[in-house]
Amino acid sequence: MGRYHGRSTTVLKPRSTHEVSQILKWCNQRRIGVVPQGGNTGLVGGSVPVNNEIILSLANLNNVRSFDPVSGILVADAGCILQSLTDYVAPHNHIMPVDLGAKGRHSHSCQIGGNVATNAGGLRLLRYGSLHGTVLGLEVVLPDGTILDQLTTLRKDNTGYDLKQLFIGAEGTLGVITAVSILTPPAPQASNNVVLALPSFDNVLPLYQTVKRQLSEILSAFEFIDRTAYDLAVKHGQGRALTEEDVEGAECFVLIETSGGRREHDEEKLNDLLESLLTAEKPLVNTGVLAQSPSQFSSLWALREGVTEAVSKEGKPYKYDISIPLSTFQSVVDGTREHLRSKGLLHDKAVKYVIGYGHVGDGNLHLNIIADSYLPEIEAALEPYIYEVVASHRGSISAEHGIGAMKTHALHYSKSPVAIELMKKIKHVLDPNGIMNPGKVLE
């Protein structure tokens, strides 16, 4: 995004866990800061040095260690690129439980170690759960060079504290993840999608309830795009648009994806759902479109996934990735827009658009403020305003992007003083010299 620039002079690219251990031991003795770096695709500056730390690139740790096609358990080095792991398990009819968007540059450059270190969410979370559940084991090099080998492939292991969970989402502040053992689900044999046009945001929640009940186990995504976000995606050529007639009077859109084991079964369920939606006495949807081919399937997804790209083409985005109660999605977007208007910042030369989109199924809203250029007035109007709104709903100021360098000052909006104090104690126990990714997560 061009918002973070490092000033490091040194990048080390170890080829083995042993080499990582040697490097950390050496740095720890000399109190040299280390920034672990995967694909460097993060959005909050977690993999960028804030001073002159050494960058520890995991790119050369890129071998698959094992894959069991029966259990679906994959053990891979941290530097393996997510897309290449997806390709690796595909012939065995498995998929990675994390998907950061098929179109984006992320999946083609982000690495599994980075995904785990940041606890990346993505489009499949609704179906396969978070990495806290799918990661079965980790190999971590601690700041003093000790190798913590917890690279087990057990589904069940209730023996004491589950230490690996500490490193999932720690953003490299507690140690360096060098290998991951992860449970990959079987690849769905059939998938389908549909985009529905809704007259009002108020219908999203009842629709979600209906869809969950009727589609049950085949529901694999339930994504929300507000009208402005949709218009921007179409404007910047992300996927083929719906006809004028179909989008008329739509305040927002919902993309539903199904994945299952048998096409006929899934289609029947989906058709029943759509029929009941259209023939209801008080229909929740205006209309919608159903993909008729794999190319239309990807074109419909592009309308949702392409919002990110459209946003960067439109202007300078301020991106907030928040968890809030579903019922407040629209009011938070509208509230932010009104707040900016009241500050006189909603015009061509300041903030052009305020949009909302995201993962309804996960309660995760992407609130994007698209400005003509980055201005201190806009930032002052947005923060702490948005953080306070999130805190008032007991939400999270970072649902899936992490804290990185960007949001350390705002951590207290989502975590209590007691929790932050405990985090600091844990950090001190593992990294007493404070060499691991300094300035990230905790101030």
């Binding site: 083929r240 719906l242 259209l278 919608g288 081919s293 190319s295 990807s298």
Partner: protein, 275 residues
């Protein structure tokens, strides 16, 4: 002068179920064909043809009396027909062939389309019910033969406008203005109806099938026929000897110096241009 009766248009759109273009094609181990157990959808050029028929109706409204979609293929081709109906065709004709048989060759397809047109025109109560426009894809993306439209026009003795990127119909004058994609530009031709049009990519961008239309499509009539009903024989005239994948691309190599590159180029027979 008495106003002449409004000339009405009946459009026939043949559509083919083909392996979807997003699917990676694999040759079967016996090298007799491709692995057909993959996702299929309507041939993209045919999708454009259906869209054009529907747009003509939107433009000419009541002057387009009917849009009929036709497909030849196994039972599963019914899905392709339903998609055409959901996009806006009024009725369908399915010439069904067994799952195991290969898809018919272009001449057989052209003869089938002719037979369907003759059948319809024989049943027609007046001139107004006769088929006067066939819009079809310029080629199917599975066999890439690209000759059906031309053969059909030849068999029927109709005008043909191939590789169309723009179609305008004047129903009163029974004329069409078609812009064709040709090497290095576009060609504008005027032709008389009845007419066969084959579609090129730039003609339009097909719409998604909307949910209400998908529901309506389920109730639209589809007539099922067999080649025998039409007095046709699909025995192939061509014999496929072998289907093979193109040779695997060999990756490039790296050279350390310019001299090494020059030496390699010389080895490969390249020489510097003499001044």
């Amino acid at each position: 002068m008495r106003p002449s009766a409004i000339r009405l248009l009946n459009i026939l759109v043949p559509v083919k179920r083909a392996v979807d273009y997003a699917v990676k094609i694999r040759v079967n181990p016996q090298q007799t064909g491709i692995d057909a157990n993959v996702k299929h959808s309507m041939n993209p050029f045919d999708e454009i043809a259906v869209e054009e028929a529907v747009r003509l109706r939107e433009k000419l409204s009541a002057k387009v009396k009917s849009i009929t979609a036709l497909t030849i293929g196994p039972a599963k081709s019914a899905d392709t027909l339903r998609t055409a109906l959901a996009m806006g065709a009024d009725s369908g004709v399915h010439v069904e062939i067994p799952e195991s048989s290969s898809s018919p060759e272009p001449l057989a397809v052209a003869k089938t389309i002719r037979a369907i047109i003759e059948r319809k025109n024989k049943d027609a109560k007046s001139e107004e019910d006769k088929v006067d426009l066939v819009i079809l894809g310029k080629q199917a993306i599975d066999d890439d033969l690209g000759v059906t439209g031309q053969m059909l026009a030849g068999l029927l003795g109709w005008s043909q406008a191939t590789f169309a990127s723009k179609v305008e119909i004047d129903t009163d004058k029974k004329e069409a203005l078609v812009v064709r994609e040709i090497d290095g530009g576009a060609e504008e031709i005027k032709c008389r109806l009845p007419l066969v049009v084959t579609t090129d990519l730039r003609l339009n961008e097909p719409r998604y099938a909307s949910l209400p239309n998908i529901m309506k499509a389920k109730k639209k009539p589809v007539e099922k026929l067999t080649p025998v009903d039409l007095g046709l024989d699909y025995t192939p005239q061509l014999e496929t000897l072998r289907v093979a994948e193109p040779p695997k691309r060999v990756g490039g190599g790296k050279v350390a110096t310019v001299d090494e590159l020059l030496a390699k180029l010389k080895d490969a027979g390249f020489e510097a241009v003499k001044a």
